[in-house]
Each structure stands twice: as C-alpha cells, then as structure tokens.
C-alpha cells in the first residue's frame, strides 16, 4: 500500500499556479533568486554612485548626474538596506535554503508549501514598497541602514517623510517574511527527513540554514517591535526614541543591534554552508571534523546573542559594559577559527579540481579570513574607540558579507545550476567571472582599510573637507576604478546565467559525482522531487573511501551485506 509520503502529485497545469503563485519549493527558490539578483542590480548601482562621488566629488556621474549630500545619505541608506535585507537574505536563505532543504533531506516539498509561497510574496511586496520609497516626495530614507533615532525618528532632521515610513514598513514586511520562512525551514528539516536521514547525516548547509533560521527567529522579535515603535513615533506622536518626549535614542540602538549582530550570522552561516558543500566534492575528500563544525555552528549562533553591544562601545552606554562585551565578541573567534581551520583541513590532502564553484568557494574562504581577523580590532573596545564609525568598519564588514553572499552565493549558483535548470554553465566565462570578482573585490576594500586607519569617518559625502584626509583621496580613486572593474566582471556572469538556460550542455543527474540526495534525482528534479522517497544509508561526505573503486559513495547506497562465514 502506498503511504501518504509516497503519493506523487503532478505539477499544476496552469501557468499562474505553476510559475507565479506556485507552492513548489524549487519554483519559489528560483523566484527568490531572481528577486535577489534583481535587487542586487539596484544595490550595485548605488555602490557605483557612492564610489564615483567619493573618488571624484561633485562631478557628473555618468548615467546619473551629480549627487548632493542629502542624496548621498539616501543612496548609502538604500545600498545597505538593499544589500543586507533584499540581496543577502533572499539569496542565501530564500533561494538556497528553499531549494536545498527539501531536496537534501529527501522530502517532497517544504512542510508548509502555502506558507512558503506567502513568505516569498511578502518579501516581494517588501521589495516593491522599498523601491516605491525611493521615488516618494521628500526622497527615500536617509538615516543610514541602521536607522539611528532621532535622525530616523523626527522628519525635521532629514526632511524625509514618507520615504522613512515606507522604509520601516518594507523592513517589517521583510522580517515577517523570513519569520514565516524560518518556521518552514525548521519544521521541514526536523520532521520531513527521509528514512535513514538522521541529524548526523544532514549535509552541513542544512545544519547551517537551520541554525540561521533559529537565530533569526529568536532575534528578530525585538526589532519588529522597535520598527513599529519607530513608525508610531513618526506617525502617531509617541516618543519611544525621542528625548524631547521622554524617550531614549539608545533604546533603538539596543533593539537594532540585538537583531543586527545575529543577522550577520544569519547571512554568514548559509554562505559558509554552501562553500562547505562545494569543497569536499571538488577536493574529493570528506569534510574534516563534521561534528566539530556542527557544534561550532551552534556555538557561534548562541554567542551571537551576547555580543551586540560591541556596536555601541562609544555610544554612551555604561562604559563598564564594554569589557564583558569585548570578551564575548573576541570569543567568537574560537568557533569561527574551528570552522575556518576545518575548511582548510578539508582542502589539505585532497585531489583538487579548480572548477568555477570550487574557485568561488576557495575565494570566499580566503577573503572571509580577512573579514574575520579584522573583526578582532573592532571587538576590542579600546581599539574600537579609534576605529568605530570609520572606513575600517566599512572594509571589515564588506570582507565578511561579500565573501558569504557573493563568493558563497556564486559558488552555490554555479554548483547547483545544473540541478536547478538542467543545463551546465560555461566554465570559461565562469572562471573569467571569478578572477574579475576576486581581484577587484580585494582592490576595492584593501585601500579602504587604510582610509579607515588614517581616521576617515564613514558616511562622509566627500572627505576633502578634512585637511588630514586629503592625502588619502587617491585610495578612494583606486577603490572606484576597482569597483568599475568588479561590475565589468559581472557581465560574463549575466551572459552565462541567461545564455546557459538555452544553450548550455544538458546536465546529467549527477554531473559532479557528488553524494548528497539532491543529486540522486533528475536534473531538474520533477515536481515533488523524487520518483520514490530515497532511503539514506550513510554520511554525506564519503569521498575517496579506501578500498572503494569509485571515489564517491552516494548517501543512498546501502551498506554492503556482511556475510558471516558459515563456520562462525
């Protein structure tokens, strides 16, 4: 008799139900991917405007015109908001989390397919609201992506009216969307695993998406409350964050960073997870220290809840809080060092093929290390006195978020593209894309570390107004040329991404000889993923097992029958 889980349904026939209001996690994942890549164009364009203005202040920006200081503040606010909330999260959690979790655990779909659809359309609405906010009278929000009150709270300080209100609304919707998504991730990964898929057999990216979802669920509540309080201050006359009405601006900072720091790990862990799926496949080696990595991931997730005040060392909070938060912050280097060392040890002694996904995974690791070590300077309250709010911070967090979002994201995109679209991407274009991205990303942000250590505040429309910074203008010029190079380097990707859908070589079911379950079904997988729910017999990373002919053993291969000698 067929069990409920074995029942196989066909995809809905109508175009709208099949491709737009779909409940299929694979379609929804692609929708997230298209949304995030589209928003990345907006985020990238704002980066171009920022970089041009900083290199050649107050000149006509090709394709835009000159920008003034108030526009500049709006542009940096949009850049940060778009990149963190509408690119990194939908790309790493929305697209990859949705696509991979059911396939990798051997499920037919998410636990709550309609909730999944609603999550996507909520974040889609949030993106529309944010985009509209860029065109309302008074201009878009201009209080920074951190929205510090009272600058964000009282319109008289920026002249921004509905732009800021819509910014708050867009964020609240975005958070709501990922709350629903997080519940889905958690329920699915814990309850819908195929027979034999124990927790210790889960691929690491599932563990990391899961940890990210839990961290997000537990941290976002206070900020949703904070956003509604801010909106109430602006529209209903309350004064939660306004000292003239008895409120306190530091309350916003606490609510924002109590979420804002865990948010970094919400983005970083899935990016790490993707790199960790790619590395063993192209090194033909098991993950080094699988369980250590799982425990490190959980430890990093837990620690992320008690470090937020390192964003506030010089905020005016009680200075006695600085040292405890310094200690917890610097302690995060322990789980992350374990993760990084385990990744290096996974590559060490391998049989490495430098395919495009592997290049992006290794490039992501190499650059993330810079982001990690520079974090120590900011985690120490003493050095943070000098470095807080400077370009050093800007360079540091780009070195953490860019590697996970773009190196990690591109590694995953090139790696799972054959599964998602049934065709291979072009390797030559992919490698050109990698080298442009890798070289120019570093060429942008290494100079900006130096701008920061020379004492340049961030969010400065032009630094020539400070005499002591004028000698360092040339570093901004280098960074801007590199930005243009980085954008040119994305063209091969766009050509490759779209072109391969029609012209790419047909992909085999398992083109990389990988072990995890998504490769045990067709490319692309059918509606509801598997002809029959697979049974899992082994760990996800059994590569180059001694005594085996092949250097890979899929998770679905049964253990050999042990035949005991009759004499026994």
């Amino acid at each position: 008799m067929e069990t409920a889980a074995e029942q196989h349904h066909e995809a809905p026939a109508g175009f709208v139900r099949r491709y737009i209001f779909s409940t299929d996690h694979k379609v929804i994942a692609k929708q997230y991917m298209i949304l995030s890549l589209t928003m990345a164009l907006i985020g990238g364009f704002t980066a171009y405007l920022i970089r041009w203005q900083l290199a050649w202040p107050e000149t006509d920006i090709p394709g835009w015109g000159p920008i003034g200081p108030d526009n500049y503040n709006a542009i940096i606010t949009m850049h940060g908001t778009v990149m963190v909330f509408f690119v990194a999260m939908p790309f790493l959690l929305g697209a990859f989390g949705n696509y991979l979790i059911p396939l990798m655990i051997g499920a037919r779909d998410m636990a709550f397919p309609r909730l999944n659809m609603m999550s996507f359309w909520t974040v889609f609405t949030a993106s529309v609201v944010l985009t509209i906010s860029m065109f309302v009278p008074g201009g878009p929000a201009a209080a920074g992506w951190t929205g510090y009150a009272p600058l964000s709270d009282n319109p008289i300080y920026t002249g921004v009216t509905w732009g800021q209100n819509l910014w708050i609304l867009a964020l609240a919707l975005e958070f709501g969307s990922f709350l629903m998504g997080g519940i889905n991730f958690l329920t699915t990964a814990l309850n819908m695993r195929a027979p034999g898929m124990t927790l210790w057999r889960l691929p690491l990216v599932v563990w990391m998406e899961l940890t990210a979802a839990v961290v997000f669920l537990l941290s976002v509540g206070p900020l949703i409350a904070g956003a509604l309080m801010l909106l109430a201050d602006r529209t209903l006359g309350t004064g939660f964050f306004r000292p003239d009405r008895g409120g306190d601006p530091l309350l916003w900072e606490h609510l924002f960073w109590f979420f804002g720091h865990p948010e970094v790990y919400v983005v970083a862990l899935p990016g790490f997870g993707i790199m960790l799926e790619v590395m063993p496949v192209f090194a033909r080696k098991p993950i080094f220290g699988y369980r250590t990595m799982v425990w490190s991931t959980i430890a990093a997730g837990l620690l992320s809840f008690i470090v937020w005040a390192h964003h506030m060392f010089v905020s005016g909070m009680d200075p006695r809080l600085a040292t405890p938060f310094s200690v917890t912050t610097i302690l995060i280097s322990v789980p992350f060092a374990l993760l990084v060392f385990s990744m290096i040890a996974t590559v060490w002694g391998g049989s490495i093929t430098l395919t495009t996904p592997m290049l992006f995974a290794l490039g992501g690791l190499a650059t993330f290390i810079i982001g990690g070590v520079t974090g120590i300077f900011l985690g120490s309250a003493t050095t943070d006195i000098f470095l807080h709010g400077t370009y050093f911070v800007v360079a540091h967090f780009h070195y953490t978020l860019f590697p996970v979002t773009f190196f990690g994201g591109f590694a995953g995109l090139y790696y799972w593209y054959p599964k998602m679209f049934g065709r291979m991407m072009n390797e030559t274009l992919g490698k050109i894309h990698f080298w442009f991205t890798f070289v120019f990303f570093n060429a942008i942000f290494i100079p900006l570390f130096a701008v920061g250590t020379h004492g340049s505040p961030r969010r400065i429309y032009e630094l020539s107004s400070y005499t002591y910074l004028q000698p360092f203008q040339y570093l901004h010029v280098i960074a801007t040329y590199a930005t243009i190079g980085l954008f040119i380097g994305q063209l091969p990707f766009i050509v490759n991404f779209i072109g391969s859908m029609v012209r790419g070589k047909r992909a085999a079911d398992n083109p990389w000889d990988a072990n995890t379950l998504e490769w045990a079904t067709t490319s692309p997988p059918p509606h509801e993923n598997f002809e029959h729910i697979p049974v899992v017999y082994r760990d996800p990373y059994e590569y180059s097992v001694p005594g085996e002919n092949e250097d890979w053993i899929p998770q679905t291969r049964p253990e050999p029958q042990i035949v005991y000698a009759a004499a026994d």
């Binding site: 098991p286 905020s315 600085a322 200690v327 374990l338 590559v347 002694g349 490495i352 070590v373």
Partner: protein, 238 residues
C-alpha cells in the same frame, strides 16, 4: 598606504590605544599569514594529477582526537591570545573611559546640526554665569592639562571624534556624557563628526587647538579682556 597606518598620536592615552592596535595587528597578522599560507599551499600542492596520475585524496574525516588536535591546538592558542588581547584592552579602556581624573579645565560641548559649540565657564570657573563664552567649532585647550568635557546634543546623535587624540565619544540627545583627554603636544587637530547626523554631516568639523602655557594664557586674556586681568591669579589653567 600601510607605512604609518595610524595618524600621529598626540594624547596621553592614545599610546594605549595604539599599543593595543599593534598588538592585535601582529597577532592576527601571524594567523592571517599562516591560514592563507596553508590554504594556498594546499590548493597548489594537491591539485588533481599534481602528485601523479591516479593518486587519490586522503581519507581524513577529522573524527579522531589525534586528527582533531591539528585544529584544536591552534584554536587553544588563539583562545589564549584572545584573552591576552582582552586583558590589554580592558586596562586601557578603564584608563581612557573609566573614572575621569581630576581636571584642570572643564568645557561643555554642544553638538547640533552641523556645528560644535564649546562653552567655557570663564574666569569665575562656573557655568551659567555672565562671563560664560561659547565658541563655535574652535576648542582652545592648554597643553599638559587634563581637559574634561561634557557632551550634549541639541538634536540628533553626533560623535565627537578627534583622530589624533584617539578620542571618540557619541553625543546623544537627552544625555550628558562626560569624558576627558590630555595632550602634551601643542598643535591644531581636526574634529570629525563620525555618526551620520544629516545632510551636513560630512562638513561638521571643528578644531582642537592645543596651546602651550604662554599662548593659552594670551588667548584667555584676549577672550575675556577685562575680567580676566583682574582674576588671572585665580585661574588654574595658565
């Protein structure tokens, strides 16, 4: 760009900040070079086919104590170094941001979009009296003396940042935040607002003018021409 990473330091506590900075720089620099070095070595050394055709990858699961020692021993060293950084940082922080030492001069700093106002108590040494004087954007202070400041904001959050003094403190509306500094090196040092405060944020600068005893006293006499002459003996700052 990286030879003199930091601007010259002119405050008495700035050396502690710089010391912690360089301590972290060398520690993380070592681990950075080591990690990237092993990573690049592995990528080059273990390319497929580089060790002869048909060579397979090592089967290392990293699940025995012996194998895990390769990552746990370095991490134990990192933990130890973390604590050393915490310790150096904590004592410097305590000195800079802890109890304010007895001060010779007290100045009220009021930040507003997009100016720094500095209020001096005048010859009588008291705020709120007729001889208070408020200067815009220029802060005159004596060299070799502890200067206490009280930060207040009239509108949004600003940040009082003097890179060469290694001094930064946010200025928060609704709060009075005190701090101090001392510079023994006369000169003119720029103040940069380092918290986004509106469209004029980029141009919200001021200067700290650290003067030797003679110049400072001349400035006092110029600023309070009549009263100062009578009371000059009672002013500690000259």
């Amino acid at each position: 760009m990286f030879s003199n990473l930091l601007p010259p330091n002119v405050s008495t506590f700035g050396g502690d900040v710089d010391h912690t900075f360089w301590m972290i720089f060398w520690i993380v620099g070592f681990w950075f070079v080591l990690a990237e070095g092993v990573l690049i070595y592995s990528i080059v050394r273990y390319r497929k086919g580089s060790t002869g055709a048909g060579t397979r990858a090592m089967f290392l699961r990293g699940d025995t104590p012996r194998q895990l020692a390769w990552i746990f021993i370095p991490v134990a060293i990192i933990l130890f170094l973390d604590l050393a950084i915490d310790r150096a940082g904590a004592s410097a922080w305590e000195r800079i941001k802890g109890e304010i030492p007895p001060s010779d001069v007290t100045i009220k700093v009021t930040a507003k979009q997009f100016n720094w106002n500095f209020t001096y108590p005048g010859p009588d040494g008291k705020f709120g009296t007729a001889d208070d004087i408020t200067a815009e954007n220029d802060l005159h202070v004596p060299a070799g003396k502890v200067v206490k400041f009280e930060l207040q904001s009239e509108d949004v959050i600003h940040s009082f940042f003097v890179p060469e003094l290694r001094l930064k403190q946010d200025v928060v509306p609704g709060r009075k935040i005190s701090g101090w500094f001392q510079s023994d090196i006369p000169g003119t040092y720029e103040i940069a607002c380092s918290e986004l405060c509106g469209f004029g944020h980029y141009s919200m600068h001021g200067t700290v003018i650290v003067q030797n005893a003679k110049d400072y006293s001349a400035w006092l006499h110029d600023t309070w021409p009549t009263k100062f002459a009578a009371n000059s003996a009672s002013v500690k700052a000259n």
